[in-house]
Symmetry: C2
Subunit: 261 residues, 2 copies
Amino acid sequence: MIGIFDSGIGGLTVVKALMEHLSGYDIIYFGDTARTPYGTKSSETVKKYALENTEFLLSKGAKIIVIACNTASSVATESVVENFDIPIFEVITPAVELSINTSHKLCIGIIGTRATVKSGIYEKKIKEMNTQSRIYSKACPLLVPLVEEGWLKKPETKMIVKKYLHPLKVRQIDTLILGCTHYPLLKNIIQKKIGKKVNVIDSSIAVASNVKAFLEKHQEVDALLSKKGRCSFFVSDVTEQFKKTATSMLRRDIHLEHVKI
Amino acid sequence: MIGIFDSGIGGLTVVKALMEHLSGYDIIYFGDTARTPYGTKSSETVKKYALENTEFLLSKGAKIIVIACNTASSVATESVVENFDIPIFEVITPAVELSINTSHKLCIGIIGTRATVKSGIYEKKIKEMNTQSRIYSKACPLLVPLVEEGWLKKPETKMIVKKYLHPLKVRQIDTLILGCTHYPLLKNIIQKKIGKKVNVIDSSIAVASNVKAFLEKHQEVDALLSKKGRCSFFVSDVTEQFKKTATSMLRRDIHLEHVKI
């Protein structure tokens, strides 16, 4: 199975993208809702959580792991790769590659949680691929709670998005990376506030096509993955809010299983 | 020592009130910042956390416990009382008593996290004390992230507070209970939006005077408490944000100790 974890509901955007790109592949999802959010926590704590989550998914039969959380991808990928000998995907590199390949002016904006922005991982990866790039990033800690509250179209959300994007807009970026898996749920507002001409990069789509390309190249790994169209959802805390959001996002009935971690 | 715990920084409003009411008493604070927030989590999970936090404070020498978190007070007080044989204080009863004693019309509003409001604990306690009361409650899940982001005076915060308070304002409440220890930090905005005539009850002040009254009556417990004016702060995750907010709230230098829980 393809194992995916996130701090909460954000990673479901990656599940959705994987379902579209790799239709029929079995997926096992773990949302660490008892310890969510990760974005405001220290990197040491997030590393510990990421290792525990990976271990849980492996125990359930995952053969590849997608870290569907930008905070964990930023600070914990290295630890996960060091500790587990299977293919590990994270959401940052695919988004960076896509942005470099599609940006004309190489003037790139990044929005994410405080932890992701503070890690500087996007700047580092973009600079490694293209030293000419100009990069501007902005932490947007209120967007995750707004999404989790379901305020996707409220005027307050629009105002807050506008305020957060203002410093990127004045820099006239031509590409904006959504550096948090929650943000695709606000993509319409973000696109409107940053301007129609800016290419908004959705990391959930980027990582899904990355996994697909990998499996096409590595048939031996692909052969390990079951393809019965099943999708299991585990969470460390069962809340109504999660079920409601997941059902409306994936447009299917969701059965949540509680797991103590 | 007086042991206090909260899911994060909110309980510091209780520390501040205790320092004013019981000047010189030694205080040990635990902020469960690695697992914050509690307000969006299930009661089973919050109970588990509350028991672990209490155990930690006892191991550090606490002789009485103040649960300085409304969510934990709502759903976990009973479990904590059952499991530990020392005086346990929570933030709900003192606020309820104060509101009943000072309300003229007995038309009382309550704001809190989703978990607190869903628990119905305030309604239950108010009705027990006075069956004539009319009670209206409103969950305000975005206020905690706004406080933790430090957006205490931003126009977006004012708009969101106004939106949340609107249904209580149309009911013409005369008393409003701040059912979350984060909310005293927004007291000025809340007072302005709900109207000058409404009596806003700050549970951190209510619980501090409650503890004081208890210790005056129970000298044998008071004798167990050291009074050297020391205050120790433990957190399950060390973040800059916590240190910054704590320093500005308590107006003193804070040394944070990390504890794994």
